[in-house]
């Protein structure tokens, strides 16, 4: 699954801001595409839900500092599914947050590279070289795909080493219990971030109805009527 994961990382890197912006880089979309290769599970759904909550407040307007939740979703889903334990999913979540941060730094690096290409653009403008302008633009457009692939590949490499050594080391110890607790609590801590985004601006009635519906689902689960 490494090859498809890197391919998805490249596509998401391209789609995020450079070409299309069709929402393929959304953690839910690219994460769902990764699930087609590794297999879907309730835990994978929870991981993508938590990453979506953390991604939701990010609005790609102007030179805002972006985080790479698309690569985070691909890496998290791939490694979490391989481990398939609560501790493994917790590690996938923490790794995903780290990947999003590092990916965000790499997005800034690519934009800085684009900035450094501007003197070449000025020279092309001064000579009226339209083909040269297109060439520079296409190279800069392709860079985010390379960035996405590299971030995903490096994260899978580092993440796999972490999983191979870290999970056996904590197995049966308090470390495993600690990680499992992180996994159990993560959705409860993440959902307020998503809800605040949608429930602001005095939408009391729909927010209240939504909360009532959500509470009903929870109550059904507690009574064993929802599976």
């Amino acid at each position: 699954v490494i090859g498809p994961a890197i391919f998805l990382g490249a596509l998401a890197g391209l789609d995020r801001t450079a070409f299309g912006q069709t929402l393929f880089a959304h953690p839910l979309v690219v994460g769902s595409a990764a699930l087609l290769f590794v297999g879907s599970s309730p835990d994978a759904f929870l991981l993508l839900a938590v990453l979506t909550c953390l991604d939701a407040p990010q609005i790609p307007v102007g030179p805002v500092r972006l985080r790479d939740w698309g690569s985070a979703a691909v890496v998290g889903v791939t490694l979490g599914t391989e481990a398939s334990t609560p501790a493994g999913w917790a590690l996938a979540l923490l790794l995903g947050v780290g990947v999003a941060m590092v990916g965000g730094l790499s997005i800034r690096a690519v934009r800085n590279l684009a900035l450094r290409a501007m003197p070449r653009v000025d020279r092309a403008i001064a000579t009226g070289a339209l083909a040269e302008l297109e060439h520079i633009h296409l190279v800069l457009t392709a860079l985010p795909a390379l960035r996405g692939a590299l971030v995903t590949a490096a994260s899978l490499l580092v993440g796999r080493a972490l999983f191979d050594r870290g999970l056996p080391a904590v197995a049966g110890a308090s470390g495993e219990e600690f990680l499992s607790l992180i996994w159990r609590l993560a959705p409860w801590a993440a959902l307020p971030v998503l809800c605040r985004l949608h429930w602001s601006r005095r939408r009391w009635i729909p927010a209240g109805l939504g909360a009532l519906g959500g509470a009903t689902l929870l109550a059904l689960q507690l009574r064993g009527g929802w599976s």
Binding site: F19, L36, S40, P63, R111, A189, A215, L220, Q221
Partner: protein, 247 residues
Amino acid sequence: MSRHRRPEGVNWWRLWSLQGSFNSQRMQGLGWLVAMSGVWARRGLDAEAARAQLLDEPTSANTHPYLVGLALGARLRLEEEGEVAQARRVSDGLERALGGIGDRLIWVGVVPFVGVLALGALGVVGPWAVLGIWLAFAGAQAWLRRRLLFEGYRRGAAVLTLLEDRRTRAATSQLGVAGALLSGLVGGLVLSRALDSSAEPFATAAAVAIAGTWGVVCARWRMRPEAWALGLALVAGVVSGLSHVLS
């Protein structure tokens, strides 16, 4: 100059890659030049004429990538009608206006709603449903880009009457209402999947109350995701320690 039914020289890849060379100083400036350069090449400009056109264009541009076709289409129509100075003023003004409208309608209205809809679809149906929603969204925005380019080209300067801000505000508000309702339902769905019904009820309730409080604190003060993760680890450590002490 003859009037065409559709703008000539505007390739889809030029519009779709508007942000390809985005940077903090010129933003979509090069993307805009590349979108225009297809038209200039089609018109058969030599290097000197192209140089004059390029030097006349603003070095930076910032608009919404989905809506840029409207500005480009109107600009090309006005240029073909010989209104070169007006064409530039209209496209500059449209770029800024469309940036504001697009940010509010697409990034604040449509995208959060589609995100929460896709989350519900993943929980209830599965990954194929999410990919179906993505395909529908991608198809709709592709149609919108093409439609706006043609509409801008058809209307020329009259395109300014399309920027009726009230309608986009109403659409954003309606999407917000739907998102508020849907996010509550999806929240319940997510938490019902996260609930460990085999665990001791009182300890579970206490733990989720602490974690939920941490989430509210993060949401209220817009904390960074890394701070959220560190805080969550701290909460898990405290809950784990307390459960050991109490047992």
